[in-house]
Symmetry: C2
Subunit: 204 residues, 2 copies
DNA sequence: GTCTATAACCTGATAGAC
DNA sequence: GTCTATCAGGTTATAGAC
């Protein structure tokens, strides 16, 4: 058996550093993260981080772009699909997001925090698919409610779906529920939000 | 005319530092803020910051508690008032928040980011009014929809109202609108969200 | 109370041995 | 490729003069 040329993606040093960087950056944000934290988490030496990624910022940018694609990318295939009807799109958006955010609860706060004040820079790096009136989802909304800017409904769906994850520490603090109850409530919303959005679309 | 004993609250050195600290902390967060930034913004010397507040962390805690009260405090008088009906509460919550957030757009992301992982610590410092079933607003929701946990509607209202501010950089990036159009859309939501919430409350 | 100067520490990055 | 040791620069906090 020949020697393996391509190492396991998960066990190569470079990948170990990236895995550690994902965890630490997402948990603490760019500014509060020390390269030493990442090195320790990866079980490697600090110098290796710079050997592979040259700087903290370059490593961060790789993770950031990856996480932005994870956060926004889940939306695009759904809203762009002209073969599904509006109701189906809404159900898919909500359940896809809730499933993904349940496994990555820190993702939205990380992405939204780090995007702040950086959107100019990001625009040049990440190929951004603009949500225009040509997008299937927006067309369907406009057709159903020509009197309301479709961006409102996008805000509503994302607000109802994503905000509870962003504000989870706040809800844990002020709501008289424990963490497990809160998790159950978030799962419940996969069924409820589409019902509510449909009611909104009918509201006059 | 006697010499002024109590100096203008806004012009005392201590208040100048706090004003600067509010601005810088909210804009950049705790970790990315340097005490030098605050001193420069306040137009005073770096040493004075420690003379008045002993440390960066103590100064931050004062601002943080203040901002948490601003963020959550706007809610409590409304949801606790047994003399208003449900519809009125919803309208007040939405328009109070949108007005306040329009003037403090960075507030929610600041509070929610800095609360993360700190909620245990905060619980001991800030007197937290729990949102239980005894709160007027929750009682009214439970009465109207006994089949749904009232926290869902709180999440919906806050999600639709606050999330667009949290995600403003994202919307500016992906939505095909400029900043002024986005501001107008957010104002429009003061009228629309209560209509939608009422439709949700009827939805079966 | 306010300043300058500096201490004490921390952090990102690199040099150089293996 | 990986390590140890260390540098260079920056950051919080304080000492001490005014």
């Amino acid at each position: 058996m020949p020697k393996k040329i391509i190492p396991e993606a998960d066990t190569s040093t470079e990948e170990k550093i990236k895995t550690a960087a994902r965890k630490v950056f997402i948990q603490k944000g760019f500014a509060a993260t020390r390269t030493r934290d990442i090195a320790e988490e990866a079980g490697i030496n600090l110098a290796l981080l710079n050997y592979y990624f040259r700087s903290k910022e370059k490593l961060f940018n790789e993770i950031m772009m990856e996480k932005m694609q994870q956060f926004f990318g889940i939306l695009l295939p759904v809203v762009n699909d002209p073969s599904t009807k509006l109701e189906t799109k809404i159900e898919l958006m909500v359940s896809n997001y809730i499933d993904m955010l349940s496994m990555n609860p820190d993702l939205p706060l990380f992405v939204l925090s780090e995007m702040k004040g950086q959107s100019g820079k990001i625009k040049n790096i990440l190929p951004v698919q603009k949500i225009t009136d040509k997008i299937s989802f927006m067309k369907q909304l406009k057709e159903k409610r020509p009197d309301i800017n479709p961006i409102h409904f996008l805000m509503n769906i994302l607000g109802m779906t994503v905000f509870p994850f962003v504000a989870k520490p706040a809800f844990e603090l002020i709501a008289a529920t424990n963490k497990n109850q809160l998790e159950a409530i978030l799962q419940e919303r996969k069924k409820l939000i589409p019902i509510w959005v449909k009611a909104m679309l009918r509201a006059k």
